[in-house]
Amino acid sequence: MGCCLKKILLLGAALALCAPAFATTYILTIAGFGGEEDYEKRFVLLANDTDKILRGGGGTDRSIETLKGPEATKAKVTASLAKIASEAKAQDVLILMMIGHGTFDGAEYKFNLPGPDISATELAAALNRIPAARQLVVDMTSASGGATAALKKEGRTVITATKSGSEKNATLFARYWVEALRDPSADTDKNEIVSALEAFHYAQTKTAAFFTEQKRLATEHAQLAAEDQQRAAAFPLVRYGSAAAVVTDPAKQALVAKKEEIENKIDALKYQKDLMAPEDYKRQIAAFLLDLARTQEAIEK
């Protein structure tokens, strides 16, 4: 899900969530301390994949940094966040992704890094100094649910791999999160943009399916607060195909506006679906969808 204009009818305040034109998205990915060689390699691999995918499919309005292996120290992490704080403006967007192990002692969550760990409180303090009004934190570590309370803030969406600090096993969520960034089927609304919400649903579903299929007790339950879901939908992570082009092509704006108008009508109709006779709904939605297809065809001409 990309820009949220089409949701206006249903979500009055949603427009405010869209990134204004020329805003910059700052993305910091951190692969934490693995402890064992296998984990070390795995975390670095996931961070590298993330970096590569983001650089390949996001347009030019992004500043991407990835910290991994020995360089992912607390000092480097805080320095990177401080740098973003010095550059970012209120209209900008921040996305922080954390891969690795985490711990929770009942009071404080810590993200495991080479050398001293960084606590959720320390991370929150660093993030609070960043002026970007829209922030997304994706904490994919074990025990990450223990970080939610400290990280939560107005304007900041928090996704965690576990529901609490007591889910301490190494997580699968990061693997599927990264898979979502490269799997077109994660783009469920087929607008050629994988949003944070779509990636979350993808990773959450795949993780749950893994445990179900293997007949194992699930040791992680990814969390995204219900009230943050629409906000998460407005964080585009990966753009590909014509979607990336449209974003930067002013010549298409009139047709895009018409398209969005039809999309809004479709959304409104769907909202009324349960109140309508099935045949009536089917006829109307078919007409709108055909009209939308024609409009898109015109855009591409």
Binding site: N169, A170, D189, Q214, R216, G241, S242, I266, L290
Partner: protein, 748 residues
């Protein structure tokens, strides 16, 4: 019941699988001396009175107090043990019996009680305990009765008669002995004078019913449960067992009524309670009916499984009708349980069953592919196994020895589709090495009272191989001829002599020679293989060698359930691994389980970029019934890359018989069928994806639309395209397809 078992689980479950669970076989209790008064407040009479008044907690508390006051009184422990057993706690009962024996090693009645308890689980140690009881008290006719029952469970009529007669010599009115004698006649379709001697005693009829049930003659069993109930309407165990057998035959209304009656009269054993609970979930199942089949699937997976299960049922029926030369008069009913424990309760009334599927007359209950971890369960093979039972049981009018119907069923697993079925397991190789196979005249014992942990599995294997051998040496039709002989209630040895024109001993000798030709090399080299496979896997787990096997996931041991991908950066050449693996493949070609050499070799081939080598390994693995989904998908991908799309589809199609709930499988297979102009199959595959309710709703409906379009069903294609667009209005490929189907876009 007849059943198909999984390849590895405990003896207890298997024994339960081999025999339907039936009521407790407690005989009349031997007379015992009165126990000493415990204390003025609580006496043994108090405890017994509370027991009789159904105040079980009170009775237990009284016995506990008495035992605390008289710790050396073995009698009290025996009685409390018997109380625990009556209240469905055999573990506690066993403990108390053992304590009683420890206190008084000459306590014959405690040995008898222990024997009866062990016999309820078909534990072969029961005979030892019964013998000990007789040694201590030769007049204890109940121990002879128990041994008679156990012998009859093994179909050993001679021994059963001897033991029953020994009991009757001591007590001419011994009810269980009379029931065993009557059952022996009735099982042979003879009139029985022993029935008169039972003299209307309900427990005697209940025992006869038990023997009908364990011989798969459920209708006859129900008749005798009815007789038992008519004699004693308060015999709640008979109500419950009759209900469970009615349930097995699909007569759910009466079954529920009887179960509730038993339950409401305090007969709350696990079988009764579990069966009632299961019946409460029947509303969650969806039924699909054809003129010859009834298929019950859980709602959550019904649409996805229906096409595959129904097609396989119809295919199996077509094959069996031709092979066994008759048509069933009633439809076959197949019930598929996603929760294995529901299946177990459906089958036994108890959780913990190790079986994969069971057959009661024309009703089959089985695990769903979702009931076990992917790759562990070949549902189609199980279905064919169980459906074979329906034909053999019907053909023989339920008068067939266990070894034959199980043997034919195992034979059928691979007769039509050779790359199905289970392969020879290490347990079986060890049994072959240790010469633990049973002669054909005694093989039934291996199913019922196993004497070593893997004996049930080994017996399945042996019976299957015997049927393979008969089919190869005398022709497939000889199995049919034998079935007709068994229908006349003839014993195995007579059928072997008359149909195969060979003495059973000579059959055994020839069979073992046949088996040795197939397995001798593997058995002989098993130790070498065991050592080698360990070394190979160790090498594959070695970090340096691991790097040589980059790009695979199979040999990496997950930590905390998290699969680990390891990047390629090693330098060890994989040729050594391939050579070692191939040598091991030759020693034990059937081994396709975890750590098998085929997949290790295949991955090593890929590490050196030799796709032809990998294809060869995957092909061998697939032919040997290898079922690892990721490996087969890789095989299919390689075939596709090599331009062999039809073969790629065939490789994947095998997985539908293992896990038709794999969305990725259907997507890949759908694409291959679409690319090879097999639109109806592409429709089937993409319909399965839609039925699995994928995250990518739009993509799944779009693919289905494309398949319908390829099939020329444009209206359906348009419906699907619109459904895709309803989920994702901006989905360009679906928009283009809609425009095409609406006559506006480019026709392709």
């Amino acid at each position: 019941m007849m059943c198909r078992v999984a390849r590895s689980f405990g003896v207890a479950a298997l024994s339960l699988c081999a025999l339907a669970q039936t009521p407790p076989r407690r005989a009349a209790q031997p007379a015992r001396p009165p126990a000493q008064n415990a204390n003025p407040g609580i006496t043994e009479a108090t405890a017994e009175a509370l027991w009789r008044a159904q105040d079980y907690k009170g009775a237990m508390a009284a016995f506990d107090a008495l035992i605390a006051a008289h710790p050396e009184n073995a009698e009290l422990r025996l009685r409390e043990g018997q109380l625990f057993l009556e209240r469905y706690n055999p573990d506690e009962a066993k403990k108390l019996y053992q304590e009683a024996i420890e206190i008084d090693p000459k306590f014959a009645r405690a040995y008898l009680a222990l024997a009866e308890l062990l016999a309820e689980d078909y534990n072969s140690k029961a005979a030892e305990a019964a013998d000990k009881a007789l040694e201590l008290d030769p007049k204890m006719y109940q121990a002879h009765e128990l041994k008679a029952r156990m012998a009859l469970e093994d179909d050993d009529y001679k021994k059963a008669i001897e033991e029953a007669d020994s009991a009757l010599a001591i007590n001419p009115n011994a009810l269980q002995a009379l029931a065993v004698r009557a059952a022996i006649d009735l099982l042979q379709d003879k009139e029985s004078a022993w029935l008169t001697k039972i003299d209307g005693r309900a427990r005697g009829f209940e025992t006869i019913a038990h023997f009908f049930v364990i011989n798969r003659r459920y209708e006859d069993g129900i008749i005798y449960y009815r007789k038992a109930i008519a004699s004693d309407p308060q015999l709640w165990s008979a109500h419950s067992q009759m209900a469970i057998n009615l349930m097995r035959l699909g007569r759910e209304d009466e079954a529920r009524k009887e179960l509730e009656l038993a339950f409401n009269n305090h007969f709350t054993d696990s079988q009764t309670t579990n069966s009632l609970r299961l019946m409460d979930t029947y509303g969650d199942y969806k039924t699909f009916v054809t003129p010859t089949t009834i298929l019950k699937l859980h709602k959550k997976e019904a649409e996805a499984l229906h096409p595959y299960f129904e097609a396989e049922m119809l295919r199996a029926m077509a094959v069996y009708e031709k092979k066994y030369q008759f048509k069933l008069k009633t439809p076959i009913q197949v019930e598929v349980y996603p929760n294995h424990e529901d299946f177990a309760v459906r089958t036994m009334g108890m959780p913990g069953l190790g079986a994969l599927g069971v057959t009661f007359n024309a009703t089959i209950a089985m695990d769903s592919p979702s009931g076990r971890p992917p790759g562990q369960f070949h549902w189609a093979s199980t279905l064919w196994h169980e459906m074979s039972h329906v034909y053999i049981l019907t053909l023989t009018n339920y008068r067939v020895p266990r070894w034959f119907t199980e043997g034919v069923a195992v034979h059928e697993e691979t007769a039509t589709t050779p790359d199905w079925g289970d392969r020879i397991t290490p347990d079986i190789i060890v049994a072959l090495r240790d010469k633990k196979l049973l002669p054909v005249a005694e093989i039934d014992r291996g199913f019922v009272h196993p004497k070593f942990p893997a004996q049930v599995i080994v017996s399945y294997f042996e019976a299957g191989k015997m049927c393979d051998y008969i089919a190869e040496r005398w022709g497939e039709t000889k199995l049919l001829d034998m079935a007709h002989q068994f229908a006349k209630n003839r014993p195995t040895v007579d059928v072997i002599r008359d149909e195969l024109k060979i003495e059973p001993e000579a059959f055994d000798k020839d069979f073992l020679a046949y088996l040795d030709k197939q397995t001798g090399f593997t058995v002989k080299n098993f130790e070498t293989w065991t050592k080698g496979i360990g070394e190979l896997n160790k090498l594959a787990r070695n970090p340096t060698a691991m790097a040589a096997l980059a790009g695979h996931s199979g040999a990496v041991v997950p930590k905390n359930g998290a699969p680990i991908d390891v990047p390629a950066e090693g330098t060890v050449p994989p040729d050594d691994i391939i050579a070692k693996a191939r040598a091991l493949e030759l020693l034990y070609p059937d081994y396709v389980e975890a750590g098998n050499p085929y997949l290790i070799a295949a991955k090593a081939c890929l590490a050196k970029q030799d796709k032809a080598c990998a294809l060869e390994e995957y092909a061998k693995y697939s032919k040997q019934s290898g079922r690892d989904a990721e490996a087969i998908k890789k095989y299919s991908d390689l075939l596709k890359e090599a331009g062999k799309q039809t073969e790629a589809a065939a490789a994947l199609e095998r997985l539908n018989a293992v896990n038709p709930l794999d969305q990725d499988l259907h997507e890949k297979l759908g694409a291959l069928y679409l690319a090879t102009n097999k639109a109806p199959l592409a429709v089937r595959e993409y319909s399965a994806v839609v039925a699995l309710k994928p995250l990518d709703v739009a993509g799944s409906h779009y693919n289905l639309a494309m398949a319908y379009k390829a099939q020329g069903l444009e209206d359906k294609a348009r419906e699907e395209a619109l459904t895709a667009l309803e989920a994702a209005p901006d989905y360009r490929p679906a928009q283009k397809l809609l425009l095409q189907l609406s006559g506006e876009g480019l026709k392709r």
